[in-house]
Symmetry: C2
Subunit: 479 residues, 2 copies
């Protein structure tokens, strides 16, 4: 590698030296975002937005396959509407942006920019649901939302972010619970199989649940540095909002009944999660399912006869199966290698005069730089196979990191010691009392990440108070 | 048709009786929108949103084919940023929504919710453009924008609406002008070939152009009632914003030069345009390209053996070519006919026992209710053909309406008489003076719709002042 090529790579801070700085370097150097004079918000640049578009396409397909329809609600919520559900407004009011003027006139009622749209969906559902025949209603929307955060970081915590929010209404409590778990599983499947990110499915404690929800379920991922990231959440509201908004339906038995409700969402946070799960000191590593460029073809000695033609031919053969690009710019191959490694392109194909002579090309994986010499005869199938292999390898590596960083504690002293000395999940039993949850936060600076669906009884006693244990909890520090 | 079926149809006001009421009836009865407590904003319901998704897919493909990339900018604009370009702020400041509080704190600088994003794009471009190698920059974003309108109507004029805004930067004035016209042509092609809506391509007068633009081009469509609708606009900014935002690049000749800029957009207004161009007294009529359901299959005597199976088989055969749905609900065929006519589904297939016996089905066009008896052997090709035929028929019908409603005036008295007695375009010559434009507004209550690209010299004199004519203008009343 030439000196100038090296220089570009060296511009990223090493992740072992300063993980936060490494992260910020990547989002900038891989051209994912830019800052602007709008404090706390980000510009999502073409390469970053293309990742989001791919996430949208994959999830939207899954939502539609499970019977959901997209809608669009207003971006504003009148204060009186936000105030209708007590827990909800208490949870969100402190962090909303308020519109108080329209043109030069002061509004008679201020409007918040939606932090989430339960109240708007509820008002609409109250309008359109009459009978059991109208149920279930399975709506979703893709939009941006605003939460007035004090400290922000690109993708992870931003005053405005892009997301989808599903909002559904059901006849019975059981159907609502089924929907809540169905969508949790849709998320888990997406994280694990498309993004190569292992997740723990679990339920949030009452302290950590969504404002106004009966139960919040979550998929939790562990980042490279051992901090947890809430990947997506799915909430069962029971009939709490339905009562506040008077959403009733006439059932088959001619009785008026309250609807049961869910909501569920994932956001551009996912992109932050991908970076911190798979990225390395050479830059981004993208799972093929969401990579804007899945394969980059780098012609070697491209001025020599036949090289560019061979590269073009290769591109043409691959282009209806994968998102492929040729870089035939004047930059050196070494510069290009570094550039597309920084951008996390999953597979690189090198093709030069000698390759052409022997009817082959070189396929290099982004994750481990493994080189394969592949006959041009069956390049299509090799590329498709290698994308799967790579996704699986990303998953295995992330799972290995999580396994390595998952600790178990059965007494308070070792719990605190692990929390102080290690970074990762601590599995420990809990009595279900808020007091103990708060105390663990105070003593060990951790929060409950979730009560996993797959419960184990690793001890009979609460890690904190010693009273009978009720739940296994994953504890940790989170983004 | 049974009485109960008729009743549903009769619920729409006749378009000849009250066009405005007819329009509002359709947007509600075809389940396109709903109102909420958020004044001046609309809820776009699943059926309406699916139309928008189809519009997005078609246009996004055209944008990407012409080299554009999608990005996402913050939804807020700090007041000082909005103020940077004088004409622009004067045009937009009176109609923006202002955020003045974040949580419980008053902001030190108020933020407007974007009415359009030129200023944000400019700030970003100033950050990322250095040399001629960085040009052109061809960005687009899909988002919602807010303009604090006093009187609102679903899709046509709403405080919040969905749109796309392209923003591009070029090295030379010529390239910017080429881009402006390229995108105008993309819009014209979309309106005419996908939506079956004839448009007049033209340039706006200085009075009607976009705040801050050098030149605004437009595609203007004529609605069924003879009022015009601005379908999409494409603006050439020259280097006005570039100078205000200091967007310079180092050219090949080593000189620093200002960039030349364009922007162009279409919005959910298009849906209003489709309704008012193609709709009739039975409801919506959708061009197949954007119809959420292109073909609805209605089983006749569906309880009889083999009918539902035949309908399902038909659906399976069509479903990878068109968006097809079966309605096998308990409602009567007559009720279903009326329902899908209201929803504007382009083609209806009826299939019953006798059809099955003779290996055929009945295909009914939404626009003219023409019935075709089609052999099941080649139903796929007939359906594909009929969708094209229907789009062309919609276009022809709309063109006929426009031709019928296009008047020519060469003296002021007849101009005023036409404006008072007729509804449509008036073609008349103009001297290019603002005074005459204002006077025609005062005397005849019309505005200049555009100066068409295809100029004719229908008279030597300005229709208003009698001075030498410079431009042919289409005048009219507009939505």
């Amino acid at each position: 590698m030439a000196n100038s090529d090296k220089k570009m790579v060296e511009q990223i801070t090493s992740m072992d030296e300063d993980f936060a700085k490494w992260y910020t370097d990547i989002v900038k150097k891989a051209d994912l975002i830019d800052y602007s004079s709008v404090k706390g918000c980000m510009i999502i640049r073409p390469y970053g937005y293309a990742i989001w578009e791919n996430i949208q396409k994959l999830l939207d397909k899954k939502f539609k396959e499970t019977g959901h329809e997209n809608v669009y609600m207003p971006m504003f919520i009148p204060e009186s509407l936000l105030n209708k559900e007590k827990d909800h407004v208490e949870g969100f009011a402190p962090e909303v942006a308020w519109v108080t003027m329209g043109g030069s006139e002061r509004l008679t009622e201020r409007l918040c920019v939606r932090p989430t749209s339960e109240t708007l969906f509820c008002e609409h559902y109250a309008n359109i649901i009459r009978s059991y025949r109208d149920l279930p209603k399975l709506y979703n929307q893709w939009c941006s939302v605003v939460r007035w955060e004090k400290t922000t970081r690109p993708f992870l915590r931003s005053r405005e972010f892009l997301w989808q929010e599903g909002h559904t209404m059901h006849a019975t409590a059981q159907e609502a619970e089924e929907e809540t778990l169905r969508m949790l599983n849709v998320y888990a499947d997406f994280f694990e199989n498309d993004l190569g990110m292992p997740v723990i499915k679990g339920r949030k404690t009452d302290k950590e649940k969504f404002a106004g929800a009966l139960a919040t379920y979550t998929v939790e991922a562990l980042m490279h540095d051992g901090k947890a990231l809430q990947g997506g959440t799915s909430h069962n509201f029971g009939d709490g909002f339905a009562k506040a908004f008077d959403i009733q339906y006439l059932d088959k038995d001619n009785q008026l009944k309250y609807c049961n409700q869910t909501s569920w969402g994932v956001s551009t946070r996912i992109i932050g999660g991908i970076i911190m799960t798979h990225g390395d000191n050479n830059g981004l590593v993208l799972p093929p399912a969401v990579a804007p460029i899945q394969v980059v073809i780098i012609p070697v000695q491209q001025h020599k006869e036949g090289v560019l033609e061979a590269a073009e031919k290769l591109k043409a053969r691959l282009s209806d199966k994968v998102r492929v690009k040729i870089d035939d710019s004047d930059n050196s191959p070494g510069w290009k290698f570094a550039e597309y490694e920084m951008k996390g392109v999953p597979l690189r194909i090198e093709i030069g005069p000698r390759d052409i002579e022997s009817n082959q090309c070189v396929v290099v994986r982004r994750d481990n730089r493994e080189k394969l010499f592949v006959s041009l005869d069956n390049i299509e199938s090799v590329i498709e196979e290698q994308m799967q292999v790579l996704t699986k390898a990303l998953y295995e590596k992330a799972l290995e990191n999580r396994t390595k960083r998952t600790y178990t504690a059965t007494d308070l002293d070792s719990f605190i010691k692990i929390a102080n000395e290690k970074s990762g999940y601590i599995k420990a039993m809990w009595c279900e009392e808020l007091e103990c949850e708060l105390k663990l936060k105070e003593l060990a600076d951790v929060t409950s990440r979730c009560m996993p669906m797959e419960q184990e009884q690793i001890s009979d006693r609460c890690i904190c108070c010693g009273k009978p244990a009720k739940k296994l909890v994953y504890w940790g520090k989170a983004y």
